[in-house]
Structure formats: C-alpha cells, structure tokens
C-alpha cells in the first residue's frame, strides 16, 4: 500500500447516543494506533445530513467509510475490535 497517500475517512453516526460515542472513541483510537496521525477523519451526524446518506447509500449506523485511497471500503458497528478494524479496512 502506498504509505504516502493521504488516508481519508468518513464516519457517519446517529446523533448523540452511547453507540455514537463508542464508535467515535474506538475509531479514533484504532486509527491512531494503525496510521498514527497520517489520516483525515470527518465525523458526520446522519440526522442532520440525510442527503449525504442517500449519496453514500447508507442504512446501518455507525459506519466508517475509507474514501481514500481506493478501493472504497467500509465497516459498520462500534469498531471495538482492533484486528477486525485493521483487516476490514485493508489497513494491514
């Protein structure tokens, strides 16, 4: 994998729930461990951006989408498992 390419992620969450907090926390933690600070993460509240949900065709929340580099991959859930997180997002 090209290490120089900027990693860009979108994290969709639903409001201010417990599951949202968990997802944000785990996501940041995992990304920090794997990519250090070489990534860009945007957190989007699904409730306020329905149009984006349509564009990205999202139903399940929370969801993390790796926008860059391609291919686009995604993971749903609170992302508590680091190993799954790594393999599912092709970050190994």
């Amino acid at each position: 994998m090209d290490g120089k390419a900027l990693f860009r992620f979108l994290l969709f969450v639903s409001g201010d729930s417990l599951i949202t907090k968990k997802a944000i926390f785990n996501c940041k933690k995992n990304l920090d461990i794997i990519l250090k600070s070489k990534y860009h993460l945007e957190i989007i509240n699904a409730f306020e951006n329905p149009q984006l949900l349509i564009e990205e065709n999202i139903i399940a929340l929370p969801i993390l989408i790796r926008k860059n580099p391609l291919p686009e991959v995604s993971i749903i859930g609170d992302m508590s498992n680091l190993e799954l997180f790594k393999s599912d997002l092709l970050l190994t």
Binding site: S14, G15, N57, I59, A60, I76, G77, D78
Partner: protein
C-alpha cells in the same frame, strides 16, 4: 338472550368501525372487502411469494393516492432500481416522471452491498429512519411503501434486524403516515422475518396458484386489527388498467328486486311464463345438449331487447360474432342491424385465452362502459374447461351477484343435460344459482328428430309445467303444444322417460 348478544355485537361493531380510520386504496374491489381500505396512519404488511403482485399493489396504492385522494406518496425500494421500477409502470396510463417532477411522488433506492461492508460490534439501522423521514418531509407524504423488507434482511444480522423492524413499525405509527411494507413469504413463519405480523396492524396475503395450467392470483386479508373484514380468498387480476379484486357482493340482500318483466322474444315462450316472460334483473339458464337451439333462443332474446331499444351485450365463447350473425340470419334474425346501431355489443374470446377471472373482469369493465340492460353468455359450459368447476361456480355466483346489483338480466346457455348432471353433480350447482331454468331436448321419433322445451324452474312466478314442442325454421322459432307433432304418443313415451330419469336422480 341471543338477541341481546347480537345487539351487543352490533354496538361493538359500531364502536370499532368508528374508531378505526381508513385510507382508501382506490384499488377496485379492495376497499369493499376491507370496508374502507387500509388502516389510516398505521403500517400494513403485504406478504406473498415471488411474482404475486406485491410491488404492483403497493405502487397502485401510491398512484391512486396521488391521482384520486390528493395524498403524496413515497416509494422506498430495496430491490429494483427506481428507473427500472418506473419503466415497469410506464404502460400504466400515468406519467410517473411528471408526478415525481411535481413532487407528488418520491422514489428512493436503498441497497446494501454486503460484500463491501463489514460488521464490527453493535450497530443499528438509524440511517434508514433518517432517509425515510427525509423522503416523507421532501414531498409531505401521507403514504409510504417499503418494498421489500426481506432484501435488507438477507444482508444484515437477523437478530439485530428483528429489533430494528419492531422499532420501525412503531416509529411509522408515530409519523402519521399510512405505510405499506412488503415481504416475501417465509417457510416457517408467515414471512421470513417471522415477526412483522405481530407489529403490523393489517396483514394481506397474495398468492398466485396454478391449477390445471392456469394461474390465478388471489388475495386474502389475514388480519386487520380493530376492524371487520371479509375473510375469504378473492381472485384478482393485474392488467394495464391496474389491479382489480373481485369480491362477492357484500350487501347481497340490499339490492333492489324488480317486479318488471322482460319478454323472452318468443311469444309462445312468454306464455309459459304467465304471458309475461322473465323478471328484469334475473338470471336465466338455457341448457340442453348440442344442437338443441340454445344460441337461437338466446339470439331471439337479444333481438327482442334490441327492438325494445335496450342494450344487449352478447358474450360468445364458442363461435365468433360474425359466425353467430351469419347463422342467425338463417332463422330470420338480422343481428348485424342491431350491432351497427350499437344496440348489440359482442364480446368474443376463446375461453383458453386467459383465466376465468380475466374474462369476467373484462366483461365487467365492458358492462361499466356500455351499461347494457341484458347480457348473454353463450355458452357458460365452455368456461368450465378453465380451471376446476368450483372456481367457475364461485366466479359465476359473484358475477351474477354483480349483475343483480346492476339490475341486468342475464341469460346463459350451457350444455348441461339431465344425464350430464347425473354423471357430474357439480353441474347442478350452476343451475342452483339461476332464477329460471329452461331445458331444451332432442327427441328422436321413428324418422325424425324433434325438439322439446320445458321449464325446470322459475322462481317467483307461475309457470307452465307442460312439455312443448319447439321448432326452429327459417322464419324463426315457434313453440306449440306437443300434440301438433306427428306421432305424439311415441314422443309422449320418450318424454315420460326423461321425466322419470329426473325423478330417479
């Protein structure tokens, strides 16, 4: 005591029917069997196998909402792409694109591609809720369709989804929207999810069964909370006019009964019916073996009505209309004349062309356009090759009911004889539905075949018990006393034989 209970039930029914508000679907026949449509602002589940018409029915519900009831509708599809969906309905006499442009309809395609998505830990389907709400708000929708839930189900975790769907149904109720959710029939449970029937207020089952190589669509209301509904399975058809459910007339007793009479078109035949002929709006069956003159009798009935300036619909299932016109010329009836003045309308279709429902629906549609006073079905026995006889009978019952509510007199011919009834008792079922039953028979004397005619029954009027001679010549039909035929004694013997047969049966 019983009376008391009945009155209590009455009260209860009044109470219930007043509390449940209903949303009309505008689907022909469906609003009648549900006494007003789907439960308003509540979710309804449509269950059925592949190709049973779930998507069609729900789309019909939305389109009618826009066109007839000024209620905007959202269609969330999990299966087909919206473009595909719209093109599927392009021959539906509605410009869906235009409705979408005018913000009357809203389509959205939701799909989950599982292969590019992985699960890690807990999640929910709040995204669906957000998108549904967004769609509803965009066009201020009063109706929504989710088609179909199972597609979502195949991709996500079962247990999680069950909970989420429960949430969804309750959420929809709060949103004051009449929702239709479709789901595929399951093996163990009613639906593959096995849960939604607990949360839906109304469950409709659609089936498409093939019997004797002819498939029939059927609809049944399995559950309707807080409302009375008809329990039976009802056949329905889907064509480019939309969806049509064919209910048994629910208010059978309430239609008006006429005391007026209509002539059979043959003077001497009328004389057998108290000199007046049949009742207007009644059903007349003419039965007899092949070549006994059933179609000729029916044609005379048609002719006399046309001459009385009434409209007649002639449904031919055996001969083409041109053939009937030609043949009837030979006995002095010019049906073409009435055809050109639009007094006589022909409906001709091969029985095997389509299923029975479709025939009746087509005829029913024709009746609604042309509003005939009289209808002739010639012969009804040809329809019986379609599907099992019980089907024919229930269809025919419903059809006759429908005609009675419209005060249309119906005459049908059938190749039923006393002998055939003895062999196939179900044939008699058909005759039990008719008000008047005329029998024509062929009797062979020494060197000649003679026709006889008699009345087997005629409800509500004095009628002749005589067996009369019945002659067809190129001047028409004549009916007279038997003794005018040569060799009366032998004929009498034969007749006694026939009557005896009937008594034995």
């Amino acid at each position: 005591m019983e009376l008391e209970m009945a009155s209590q039930q009455n009260k209860k029914s009044k109470y219930l029917s007043s509390t449940i508000e209903k949303t009309k679907t505008g689907i022909c026949g469906f609003d009648e069997i549900t006494f007003g449509g789907l439960p308003k602002n509540r979710p309804t589940l449509i269950v059925g196998g592949i190709g049973t018409g779930k998507t069609f029915m729900s789309m019909h519900f939305l389109l009618n909402g826009v066109n007839q009831f000024q209620e905007n509708g959202v269609f969330m599809t999990f299966e087909e792409k919206t473009t595909e969906l719209v093109s599927n309905f392009s021959n539906f006499n509605v410009d869906i694109d235009e409705l979408v442009k005018n913000k009357k309809l809203y389509f959205e395609h939701l799909h989950i591609a599982q292969y590019e998505m992985h699960e890690s830990g807990k999640y929910n389907i709040d995204g669906l809720f957000v998108r549904i709400e967004h769609a509803m708000n965009t066009i201020n929708a009063k109706r929504i369709v989710l088609d179909s839930l199972d597609t979502l189900f195949t991709n996500l975790d079962i247990n999680m989804l069950r909970n989420e769907f429960k949430k969804l149904f309750f959420w929809l109720k709060e949103k004051n929207i009449t929702a239709v959710i479709t789901a595929e029939q399951g093996d163990i449970y009613l639906t593959r999810l096995g849960l939604e029937e607990n949360v839906a207020d109304c469950v409709i089952e659609l089936t498409n069964r093939v019997v004797n190589q002819i498939s029939t669509r059927r609809l049944r209301i399995m559950k309707y909370r807080g409302s009375f509904h008809a329990n039976n399975e009802y056949p329905f058809i889907i064509d480019n006019e939309g969806m049509n459910v064919f209910p048994i007339a629910t208010n059978l007793i309430e239609y008006d009964i006429s005391n007026q009479r209509v002539s059979s078109g043959i003077k001497n035949l009328d004389s057998m019916f108290d000199n007046k002929g049949f009742f207007v709006g009644s059903s007349v069956l003419i039965s007899g073996s092949a070549g006994t003159g059933k179609t000729s009798l029916a044609s005379f009935f048609a002719k006399s009505n046309c001459e009385d300036n009434k409209k007649c619909l002639f449904c031919a299932f055996e001969e083409s209309s041109k053939q009937i016109v030609r043949n009837m010329k030979s006995i002095g009836i010019d049906l073409e004349k009435y055809g050109s003045s639009n007094k006589l309308i022909f409906y001709y279709a091969r029985p095997t062309l389509q299923n029975l429902e479709l025939h009746f629906m087509r005829i029913k549609a024709l009746i609604e356009i042309e509003k005939p006073d009289v209808i002739i079905l010639d012969p009804i026995t040809n329809l019986m090759t379609e599907g099992p006889n019980s089907d024919v009978r229930s269809m025919l019952t419903r059809f006759i009911d429908f005609l009675k509510t419209q005060q249309i007199s119906v005459m049908f011919t059938a190749a039923i004889t006393l002998k055939s009834v003895a062999i196939n008792p179900s044939d008699e079922g058909i005759s039990s539905m008719v008000d008047t039953w005329l029998m024509v028979e062929d009797i062979v004397t020494e060197n000649k075949r003679n026709r006889i005619i008699y009345i087997l029954k005629s409800r509500g009027m004095p009628h002749s018990k005589d067996v009369k001679a019945f002659v067809i010549s190129n001047e028409g039909i004549d009916i007279y006393e038997l003794d005018k035929i040569e060799n009366p004694s032998k004929l009498e013997n034969k007749r006694n034989g026939a009557v005896l047969n009937r008594n034995i049966k």
